[in-house]
Subunit: 293 residues, 2 copies
């Protein structure tokens, strides 16, 4: 785990600096800029960027060639949190122990800060001079698909509609596959694209990402049932309170834990024996899917 | 004017079909798709796409090579209207005589429909196989700048902050230059990029677009003072009610009319004598800046 700890500490610093620099260097209305910076500086584990870096490392490439893509990805994740927290959506006052964007800057600025981060993300990929124009276009297409109406935004819509009604395991999986899964898949497959991985490697990495994505969500639901409020930095049990369907609710807590272990196992075996230097990536998978907060 | 009428009727139909097709063909959660379609089908003059087509025509190119860009541009314009109309922003119940998106679909879906249209716009440019990868990247960079924190979104933030306080003419111009001007400039300069116009043509077209953009806004403010409610399809005088600063407020009504004519005149003379087939474009400029609704 020591290697992973050093890896994460190093690349989290690199990523954070890149995020702040990309916003600070632009000529933006002060309050809007402050609001954008507030949310990207609100912390978080930077799971998606770390997946980009660790996948590049597994493919024997310098993780730094994924920096722009990782930065754009975290901006899109951040915008989605700002909009999801709005009173019109999940109406959350706190995230990661800090006041949500709209509680500090007001709803209007929070909506605009989200819009601005989403829009900026595309520029950052477009400006990545380390990559060919063709690769940048492929990444922009992928990120738009993963985060848009067919991916994350569609998943959020489905999630809202599923509130206060009982959904099947299949429906729950479909919601999460879009709401959180697609962006995690993008993290891994974008790195494969940047590294020019062969089709077998890309296929394997995709299976890995899909299963880590499901594991991530099951883990989230389990933590919501058994989690410790202090560790999570937000109220637990809220999904039950909101009548949201969850994996433990549909599978029992033990069943959810078994499903989680199964997905982690499928993810890991997808990578084995395929000429990947995957030590960091496998450890990161454990950290994501088997996390305690 | 006959030529322009036919030109607009033809390309409006082409544009509308492209807009609907780009949404309908994708696998989107039904309510979200309906909400996206509702707003793109809510009508409007399609000024920005028409500027793309007319500029390509002025550069002796087939306007159809700008179709994807024009479609993306109108999606971004539509998303901005959906978000601007939200209760947290301008709180409008009607637009173009129809209920606003959030009045029909609720605030959450309206936020997501806006997010989805913005995200989709980037895919549409990225997928434009008529253009080189390099041109697509240049367009994506330009559209992100024009519509993002340094452009439209920043202008909207500045506009919100200017409410209920007196601003100078310089501040008012800066707000509008970003809020509406940048996207109009993109309409014209994106066409120049697609047509591979020379630098002198591009410079002239940019001056044209900047001045038409200012004219468009002055015209909007004048119509708000003298406009006819039926023609506008929304309540007039609302800017005065909201204590927003306007051109007639700062320059008097006659002064605003003089400024409008001056900008239209500068715009038109920027184009003259530069090997442009600009008949349609000049007529369109009149229609935009000297419109009655």
């Amino acid at each position: 785990m020591q290697d992973l700890t050093l890896f994460l500490a190093h690349y989290k610093k690199v990523l954070d600096e890149s995020l702040y620099k990309e916003i600070k260097k632009r000529n933006i209305e002060p309050k809007l800029k402050e609001s954008m910076l507030y949310s990207v500086q609100a912390g978080g584990k930077r799971i998606r960027p770390m997946l980009v870096f660790a996948t590049l490392q597994a493919l024997n490439k310098d993780p730094m060639i994924g920096l722009k893509t990782a930065t754009a990805l975290e901006m899109i994740h951040t915008y989605s949190l700002i909009h999801d927290d709005l009173p019109a959506m999940d109406d959350d006052d706190y995230r990661r122990g800090k006041k949500t964007n709209h509680k500090v800057f007001g709803d209007a600025t929070a909506i605009l800060a989200g819009d601005a981060l989403l829009t900026l993300a595309f520029s950052i990929v477009a400006e990545d001079e380390n990559l060919s124009f063709e690769t940048r276009i492929a990444l922009i297409n992928q990120i738009s698909y993963s985060s848009g109406a067919e991916g994350m935004v569609g998943g959020q819509q489905a999630d809202i509609e599923a509130e206060n009604k009982q959904v099947t395991l299949e429906e729950l999986s479909s919601i999460h596959a879009r709401k959180t899964g697609e962006l995690l898949i993008f993290a891994v497959t974008s790195a494969a694209k940047i590294a020019e991985a062969n089709s077998e490697q890309t296929k394997r990495l995709r299976i890995f990402a899909e299963n880590i994505g499901v594991g991530f969500q099951i883990s989230d639901d389990i933590l919501d049932v058994i989690g410790d409020e202090t560790k999570m930095g937000k109220k637990t049990g809220v999904d039950v309170f909101m009548n949201k369907s969850t994996y433990p609710g549909l599978l029992t807590l033990d069943g959810a834990k078994r499903a989680l272990n199964e997905h982690v196992s499928i993810a890991k075996s997808a990578l084995s024996g395929h000429d990947l230097d995957d030590e960091i990536l496998l450890k990161l998978a454990d950290l994501i899917a088997l996390r305690e907060n």
